[in-house]
């Protein structure tokens, strides 16, 4: 179980690194799916099977499928790969990389000052999670539902006007 955690976290970090440094959009997306699956594996080893299932279904499934759809609509071809290579020069990434590395070192140093605390290996079952979700956290559920409603209305609004704009452009193209 312990080895599974370390292997999965190494896979997650490596795949995420490839996402950040990748030039081809679809390849980066597939690496991100791999990263999410690896994080789901670490959730399993940490005794959170419900969170692992949600990670696979919603993150690696639904959200990434949304990204795939948008990439199919935008169709970034080989031209954008060359452009990405052109943008990602060392002079661009060296500064932010050094700064975040310093921050990460500080954070790791703070996190390792208190050693020897070990996570539990028993599972927190979906039943307990559900009872807590609709018990003391019911206000949070309502707030999440309002947030999702706002997202739905916003996405509908944007898509509706985008569609009308496309129609107008097509009409203008036909008349001209």
């Amino acid at each position: 179980m312990t080895y599974a955690f370390y292997i999965a976290s190494i896979i997650a970090i490596a795949a995420t690194f490839r996402v950040v440094t990748g030039t081809h959009a679809i390849h980066a997306l597939l690496y991100l799916v791999v990263s999410f699956l690896a994080v789901a594996m670490t959730f399993l080893t940490l005794g959170a099977p419900f969170a692992a299932a949600l990670e696979v279904i919603i993150y690696a499934g639904a959200i990434m499928v949304l990204f795939v759809f948008v990439m199919m609509m935008l169709n970034p071809g080989p031209r954008s790969v060359g452009r990405e290579r052109h943008w990602l020069t060392p002079s661009v990434w060296i500064g932010p990389a050094i700064l975040t590395t310093i921050l990460l070192t500080e954070l790791s140093w703070i996190l390792t000052t208190e050693r020897g605390v070990v996570t539990q290996t028993e599972n927190v079952s979906p039943r307990e999670t559900g009872v807590a979700l609709f018990g003391p956290y019911i206000l949070g559920v309502e707030m999440a539902s309002i947030l999702l409603l706002a997202g739905l209305v916003g996405a509908y609004h944007l898509a509706y006007h985008l569609g009308r704009r496309r129609e107008e452009q097509e009409e203008r193209g036909n008349t001209a």
Partner: protein
């Protein structure tokens, strides 16, 4: 069977978060910036789950569910805005969107 030291789990979350921050800072393609935001949200969720596993409480997983809801709402709006931006500027370069009402 031994558990995993808590600091190792938190360090994995911190590394993933730092990679996400670096991605937001160095990329100019707005699609990659959105992907990096997803990485950061996911890393925060991992930290919550590690903490929930440390105290054997369901609260960590609950926070992960809320983060999931935030990520879903954010990504739907973000992708719609990306489509708008592509329709306006015919590119995904964030530097092109530097003017308001441009």
């Amino acid at each position: 069977m031994n558990g995993i030291p808590m600091e190792h789990g938190l360090i994995v979350a911190a590394v993933l978060f730092a990679l996400g921050v670096t991605g937001v800072l160095i990329r100019r393609d707005i699609l990659f910036i959105l992907l990096s935001l997803e990485i950061m949200l996911n890393a925060a969720g991992l930290a919550f789950v590690v903490a929930g596993s440390r105290w054997l409480q369901p609260d960590g997983q609950l926070m992960f569910i809320f983060i999931l809801a935030v990520a879903a709402a954010e990504v739907s709006l973000g992708l719609a805005l990306i489509l708008w931006m592509y329709s306006w500027h015919k590119t995904l370069d964030v530097d092109c969107a530097s003017k308001m009402r441009g």
